[in-house]
């Protein structure tokens, strides 16, 4: 939405006070209960449900860490509150706080497979419980298969790769909510 609100927001990436005001106005007129927008290092969080100090948020500080610093406070609630509070707009991919999740990454470049055979059920699905040694994916490197284990016990929160796609070393395969 920053694209259509005037000359200040184009490729210069400078977020100014007018942008923030317009953003807030638009969000106010929308059906969102909570929203968090990040534009080039400036994070704006607007919420009807939580207690954050809304006026403080728009500070166009270029240093990104400023906004996340508020997270440990009660303001961390929005992500959790959102699904419960709003039905109709639940599809909005709120940039949920995934910092508590453990990433399972590719140990090397390869082709990622999420099931042991094309017609088999996947190794794991969202919601499944895994142990550290549970195989969650297979990486193929020149016809050699390497099992990838979860490395952590917990519940699968997200599967982040497409079956049969190339993944690079370090690519996030899935995220696990540690037990």
């Amino acid at each position: 939405m920053s694209r259509d609100n005037g000359p200040t927001s184009g490729t210069t990436q400078q977020v100014c006070w007018e942008d923030v005001l317009e953003l807030v106005t638009r969000l106010d007129g929308s059906g969102f209960a909570d929203a968090e927008i990040t534009l080039d290092g400036v994070t704006v969080r607007v919420s009807r449900t939580a207690l954050p100090t809304a006026p403080g948020a728009p500070t166009p500080a270029p240093a990104a860490p400023v906004a996340p610093a508020a997270d440990p406070a009660p303001a961390a609630a929005p992500a959790a509150a959102a699904p419960a509070a709003v039905g109709p707009v639940a599809a909005v991919p709120a940039p949920a706080d995934t910092s508590h999740l453990v990433e399972v990454t590719a140990p090397m470049l390869g082709v990622a497979y999420l099931r042991p055979a094309p017609d088999a059920a996947p190794f794991v699905a969202v919601g499944d419980t895994v142990q550290a040694d549970t195989t969650v994916a297979v990486l193929e490197v020149m016809k050699l298969m390497t099992n990838v284990s979860a490395g952590v016990a917990g519940r699968v929160a997200e599967v982040c790769v497409v079956e049969g796609s190339m993944v690079e070393h370090g690519a996030v395969l899935l995220r696990v909510e540690p037990a």
Binding site: P107, M108, L109, G110, V111, E140, V141, M142, L144, M166, E168, H169, G170
Partner: protein, 460 residues
């Protein structure tokens, strides 16, 4: 559109990316986690991270490089030097996938990959090799040594990689080491067979650049002298090799061409020789050393001398296109010198000095070329080779080239880490280097005293 995967890092990855740009090829660089932001990665169309910083789990793994090539849809893989460049497995994996390898055929790499096999090929191609004899027992060893002369090297027939080699300076050394060498050979290589080879203690290292079309056609692109070495690592290279008689030069070039034709060599390669001109014979004694089946670090010396692009030629040949090289090259004019600048502290035993390069300034001007992957703010990683740049200077003759190199070194600056720039300043000012024709032992003989003297002064 031809797409190239660069299976290497550092300055040579940048060099290959630039060649791709010159040719209008798309280029993808395979990087380790430590090189995600490297200059090569930034200059390329794309970078793919194949593994962690540890080269044993990234750049040294042919199957990861081949998989990356398959996954990005590469037509050609350029292996650079070192890492997998001379591993036949990479070419084999790629061939199965219909991807071209910008290097020799796998069987060529096998044939020249270990010294004893390379020596057999050299003999078959009528290339001069050092006198050697198989020695079945101690008595045979003494008899052979009497014919070959001392000093000699006692080697395992099935050895390789510089292991299982004993220097014998006199008959008593043979008595002392023969049984030990045989036992080592049995333990290390599964066969106790030994041979004795003449050792040239103080000779020059001269190599010949060749480029083969894979069908027996070979272009000889002159010679290089790489005798200034520190513990077998080349420090300064130049072309043409100074002070060679026409007969010696012809012997070197013809031998290299014969061997490359015999191998039906594909692409860029180097045939290395020892040249011993101490006896004053003409031609001088020329002895085959080894074949390097890859582009070499010092290839810019030859490129600048002849005005050719060897890396582009490798890529074009692999892509099935005309290489852009002429059928033969004219007699070169002028002289080219290269200095390898490394991230090491020469004054404390060439201790590696990785770290953050705060600022880097290279000289520029007529006849100056710098091949480097360093930039302001570059974090020189501790995981790999210490080469940070190659300074190449061309001038109308050797003296002018060394003068120009001295000036160029003086105008280079790398802040934040220790480099060998000041050591190179010292090197190019040495009367022995100025005179030309030093042997491979020269630097190791001279330098410790210089470094020790300065350390002593500093400590006083």
């Amino acid at each position: 559109m031809t797409r190239v995967l660069v299976a290497n890092r550092g300055e040579i990855a940048v060099r290959v990316v630039r060649a791709c740009r010159r040719l209008g090829f798309e280029v993808v660089v395979a990087v380790s986690a430590a090189d995600r932001d490297s200059l090569a990665a930034r200059l390329a169309d794309r970078a793919v991270c194949i593994g962690p910083a540890d080269p044993g789990r990234s750049y040294l793994r042919p199957e990861l490089l081949a998989q990356a090539a398959v996954s990005v849809g590469a037509d050609v893989v350029h292996p650079g030097y070192g890492f997998c460049s001379e591993k036949p497995e990479l070419g084999e994996l790629l061939a199965e996938e219909g991807i071209a390898f910008a290097g020799p055929r796998p069987e060529t790499l096998r044939a020249v990959g270990d010294k004893s096999s390379a020596r057999r090929e050299a003999i078959a191609a009528d290339v001069p090799v050092s006198p050697a004899e198989d020695v079945a027992d101690l008595a045979a060893a003494h008899a052979a040594a009497d014919r070959i002369g001392y000093p000699a090297l006692l080697k395992a027939v099935h050895g390789g990689g510089g292991r299982g080699i004993h220097l014998v300076r006199e008959p008593a050394d043979l008595d002392r080491t023969f049984d030990l060498a045989a036992a080592e050979a049995r333990a290390g290589f599964g066969d106790g067979a030994l041979y004795l080879e003449r050792y040239y203690a103080d000779a020059r290292h001269v190599e010949v650049q060749v480029f083969g079309d894979g069908e027996g056609g070979v272009l000889v692109a002159g010679d290089r002298d790489c005798s200034v070495q520190r513990r077998h690592q080349k420090v300064l290279e130049e072309a043409p090799a100074p002070g060679l008689s026409p007969a010696t030069r012809a012997l070197l070039h013809d031998s290299a061409a014969r061997l490359a034709r015999h191998l039906r060599y594909t692409g860029a390669g180097t045939v290395e020789f020892l040249v011993d001109d101490s006896a004053g014979a003409d031609p001088a004694t020329v002895v085959f050393l080894e074949v390097n089946g890859r582009i070499q670090v010092e290839h810019p010396v030859t490129e600048e001398l002849f005005g050719i692009d060897l890396v582009a030629a490798q890529l074009l040949l692999a892509a099935g296109l005309p290489t852009g090289l002429p059928e033969s090259l004219p007699e070169p004019h002028g002289h080219v010198v290269e200095c390898r600048v490394t991230a090491e502290d020469a004054w404390v035993g060439f201790r590696p000095s990785p770290g953050r390069i705060t600022a880097v300034v290279w000289p520029a001007g007529p006849g100056i070329r710098v091949d480097t992957h360093t930039t302001d703010g570059y974090l020189f990683p501790p995981f790999y080779d210490s080469l940070l740049g190659k300074l190449v200077v061309r001038a109308h003759d050797r003296t002018a080239a060394l003068d120009a190199m001295a000036a160029a070194l003086g105008n280079a600056r790398v802040d934040g880490i220790a480099t060998t720039l000041d050591f190179l300043d010292w090197l190019v000012a040495q009367p022995d280097v100025r005179r030309g024709g030093v042997t491979t032992q020269w630097l190791d003989r001279v330098w410790p005293e210089v470094a020790g003297a300065r350390t002593a002064v500093g400590a006083a």
